[in-house]
Symmetry: C2
Subunit: 106 residues, 2 copies
Amino acid sequence: MRGPIVPSTCDLRVFQQQIASTYGDKDQRRGIAGTFMYFMEEVGELAEALREPERHDLAGEFADCQAWLVSLAHLAGVDLAEAVNTKYPGRCLRCQATPCTCLSKP
Amino acid sequence: MRGPIVPSTCDLRVFQQQIASTYGDKDQRRGIAGTFMYFMEEVGELAEALREPERHDLAGEFADCQAWLVSLAHLAGVDLAEAVNTKYPGRCLRCQATPCTCLSKP
């Protein structure tokens, strides 16, 4: 008998600590510019997977972009969870509405 | 008297729902290609902020990249939290170690 399906939770703060523990030393030795290049490599793979999802691991490419973004944040001394909570508190900060009613970024 | 400083938590699953509620309709009308372009615009701004952090809002640029990545994931039908948990379970999947001992991605 199958148990209940529990939606995945993923705490960005915990994930940043995890990525830092696993890859932080390598990231530090490589530096920001080199790490940014790896991030861009994954973004390129994401573009390819978005274009042909049936021939790629789309979820995996998204996960890779997320991981490298977190690596970069840690290297740059940014707490990504805090940065997100500050700028994205739950409603559009420009028009104060959910859903957003801004004319910008159509 | 100040209260304790509580580190920010940010659940990617909750954030994806929040972004979908706030911007999902606009993202849907714009489509994947147009949304990817906005994501790239933010990645460019992130590069600039990494280069000159003293003259930019580095944390804000990271937050924007995160938000647009989540928008893209939602549009593409990907649960980003689940994708991350699947591919990044807490140790390097290649060498099984934390910290990673792989020779790849120096």
